[in-house]
Symmetry: D2
Subunit: 308 residues, 4 copies
Amino acid sequence: MIRVAVAGASGYMGRFHDLDPEWLAGVADVVFFALPHMESQKAVPVLCGHGGRAIDLSADYRLHDADDYVTWYKAPHTDLPGLAEAVYGLPELHRKAIAPASLVASPGCYPAGAVLATAPLLRSGLARLDGIVIDGKSGITGAGAQGRKIDPMYLFTEANENVQAYGIAAHRHTPEIEQELSALAGAPLRVAFTPHLLPLNRGLFTTASVPLATALTTSRLLDVYREFYAGEPFVRVLDAGERPTTRAVVGSNYCDVTVVADPRTGRAVCVSAIDNLGKGGAANGVQNLNVMCGWSERTGLEAPPVYP
Amino acid sequence: MIRVAVAGASGYMGRFHDLDPEWLAGVADVVFFALPHMESQKAVPVLCGHGGRAIDLSADYRLHDADDYVTWYKAPHTDLPGLAEAVYGLPELHRKAIAPASLVASPGCYPAGAVLATAPLLRSGLARLDGIVIDGKSGITGAGAQGRKIDPMYLFTEANENVQAYGIAAHRHTPEIEQELSALAGAPLRVAFTPHLLPLNRGLFTTASVPLATALTTSRLLDVYREFYAGEPFVRVLDAGERPTTRAVVGSNYCDVTVVADPRTGRAVCVSAIDNLGKGGAANGVQNLNVMCGWSERTGLEAPPVYP
Amino acid sequence: MIRVAVAGASGYMGRFHDLDPEWLAGVADVVFFALPHMESQKAVPVLCGHGGRAIDLSADYRLHDADDYVTWYKAPHTDLPGLAEAVYGLPELHRKAIAPASLVASPGCYPAGAVLATAPLLRSGLARLDGIVIDGKSGITGAGAQGRKIDPMYLFTEANENVQAYGIAAHRHTPEIEQELSALAGAPLRVAFTPHLLPLNRGLFTTASVPLATALTTSRLLDVYREFYAGEPFVRVLDAGERPTTRAVVGSNYCDVTVVADPRTGRAVCVSAIDNLGKGGAANGVQNLNVMCGWSERTGLEAPPVYP
Amino acid sequence: MIRVAVAGASGYMGRFHDLDPEWLAGVADVVFFALPHMESQKAVPVLCGHGGRAIDLSADYRLHDADDYVTWYKAPHTDLPGLAEAVYGLPELHRKAIAPASLVASPGCYPAGAVLATAPLLRSGLARLDGIVIDGKSGITGAGAQGRKIDPMYLFTEANENVQAYGIAAHRHTPEIEQELSALAGAPLRVAFTPHLLPLNRGLFTTASVPLATALTTSRLLDVYREFYAGEPFVRVLDAGERPTTRAVVGSNYCDVTVVADPRTGRAVCVSAIDNLGKGGAANGVQNLNVMCGWSERTGLEAPPVYP
């Protein structure tokens, strides 16, 4: 039997036990940490130091480079050994490293969508690395704590019937995307990433424009995607002419992706749809748990999307 | 006294008079044509041939190049003289030509948003012309006939709580954007344009990523925008830190724009918010009428945005 | 092993087998019929005549009185024996009759919400039967076929940001509500029922105003409700001060109810929240299946509501 | 020239001048007070004492009976002379008294909708006064301060895709409705009123069920309504078969109403649709201003509804 626990900040659901990572190490084999960043890096090393395994849902262990952390989070990281050891928790890229890991950093919602939309193309060597532009569009639950943040921006009458960009040229998920795409490409790259807030509860849609190194057809690109994601339980590569929609994945861990060649501009348009609370959040964390425990990756994730 | 008429397809509002452009030329000085493309190019030359002036809201007279029309609309244009004579009806760019014109082609909604978001930068010579990526996000009324098209995609239960890209690498507004931006830049350019459908009635948000020819600050870019739009009655350049939102312009002819430099990628992020039925549609048509008649451009467009 | 089938009209999902109820009786033990009314009464008797058991989701077998059928559906019923035999498929009221039934008529969405909101009060003898007013509020999927009906009323741009009543004093779910409430009260009664269409995908909220025969407190009424629903797996009686919301039940078979005494008017306000596709639709049908097969009533209905 | 001012609580729009009603009396002839209740009754008597005229948008002067105020607002009223003098600001009922008034209390949003839906029937003597049930459904801006209240209930992710009743048997707009309907009927009456919160920005729909004293047809009831509202600039009585929708009035001061006889229950269903910020709020206040100043009642209220 494997014992699993969830450690969160005391919130409106009530506090069941003081947050005590040493105690947690004794009562649970794997612990999900649903803490704000800066808080996770205090609790996680205590748990791991006592033999516990952690799945961290905060941003604290996603960036391998401690300098990047300082640059984007404006504070030094206080658990450098943990940072060095942590595995980026996207099973489609790091399944083998996740399985034995003691510390897994589950991705941010935008990086999950952006990386899954473009990974096959960057791994293939068919992309040029300069000039990648990524546009992220998120439902309001993406805005932290299920959108319960007390900020006028998240009020119904402000968010409803509205669209806006935010964090322009400054969003903290940018280095996370660059880290993973650079690793796939085998060379450092930068992305121009702009996040947007849309009037829906759940759903995250990513539109990435990637320059191609050579002229390619949509059909050829789709072959690359299908090969890359062959056997993946939660990534569905749609056929030419089919379009991902967030509606088709809400309530699930699925990621729908497709790619279209644009010969006029020499670019590919790579799109993905996820539930930001699913593949972009807690459900992906459960998939990590399944990998870490050697269970079927579908365990606990069988419920189909809720449609409509 | 100037007499104005609107000529539309007979629809659910009833038919008041058979569509007879010759008759219209006798009873009206300026006629709005709200017909499907391919229909406008039949009616407009009759009206103009009888001395009438036309503001065409269809796509028929927006592209100057008849070959472009064939490429994107899959049919030859039957009024080449009209096409040659038509003025692109964006007053911020073509006010002087619109004033005396007998045929004005009011822009598509996506081009209105995309061109206003990027025009100052392209005119300034500060942009590189290769690698421009534009992401358009439209409310459902953008989908023709106030979204009354009978297609499952536009049903509430399909569009609500959903986001999707469509017309990927193939949307007909693309050449319109390229035509206007090329003219501003003084050199041919192509854009990678992807439109999206969002769950709101009105509102069109544009996010454009434009490579910079040289390192520039946001402040410097904003100066360029403020100078370009100085005196414009309907374009509001927001300050650094302010963000356009569609909510702030819905129900009006306003276009809110801003620009942010991204020194990490050597690009600028240019964003605009319009009402697709306002600056992206009928209200912009009324502004054209005002220019053509020598009236104050605010005539009939004084109502403030409806907020919230 | 019990074999279960679903028989629906050929639709956009493709046709798997011609609708042949005799064949179905051979391959399935229980068949869900998801046909339009008037169609079900043709197919169901064939299935039952060949020994099959049916759960009918249409309106064809809900009314016990054939004259009521004619009055509200404007056509004679062609399967009077089936009508006489059918059991109204609300397990909270008719569990014992459902278990052995060969034909179960799953309720309409409004009746499910209205009956569950008021049943304890009417059964208790504490209500006056004259002057009951019921207001139903439904999401757009309530409008048939998951709202895929091709009618402008269901278009996003018509339904979004809109509220309206429809079928005023004429909705076909009215006699269904009256039949069940009359049976509970032991005397014929009529209800003034008005349905409304609201801008959400799923969710049905019922507000019923029931005159009280005597002065009662909210606390006393809640005791009546708790006793009536004791042990029910899917009805949750909320405490005084708690309010049902459709959000708390969407995606599930739950029905949240509560009741408030209004001593000023001598009435009780009875409210319920269901998912019109859950307890008001297919999920309730599955609960019927479980009862008919002697399975745990939660089988296949364990997924929690999707929140938010 | 008549000088008009608006006095509000200092809010996010900045403070232009300390709230000083004595000073206001010197600089303005008519002052709108947009203050919380309890605050208005402090400021208004000072203004009126110095010869100013007030249009109060709070709840402070709507109830004629000071005891009712204590009962529903849990505090004594501190300006009893003002309370005695105030005119209820619904021009359709009190135009003659509003014209010369020095203090006009603009109605709450629910009362505006409920009273306009039922006034003709209650004035006609055709209704029974016992057993009136009124169901109000409001967009989120109805929830105070354009919904900018910092309460989780008003967050997008809580309010979106949700319906709920609130203030059951306890909403403060109830006595306001009863006061006006009692006056119309010429006898005291009580209403069972339940408000609801719906996922839209603006719009308030009222469904009232009123017992009839005698059997009447829809046609006869509509005649009563048309006669009652003859000449009203902002009330539109819809024909049999037409249904009010909030969409048709949003952004305007219009109130669409209709009535349907229900011979089965001996009741009438009276429905109305208003914009809670229009006829249910500020626009109705402007209509009061027009009446008080002898201007056309349409002054400043000419903008058509924004549709869709």
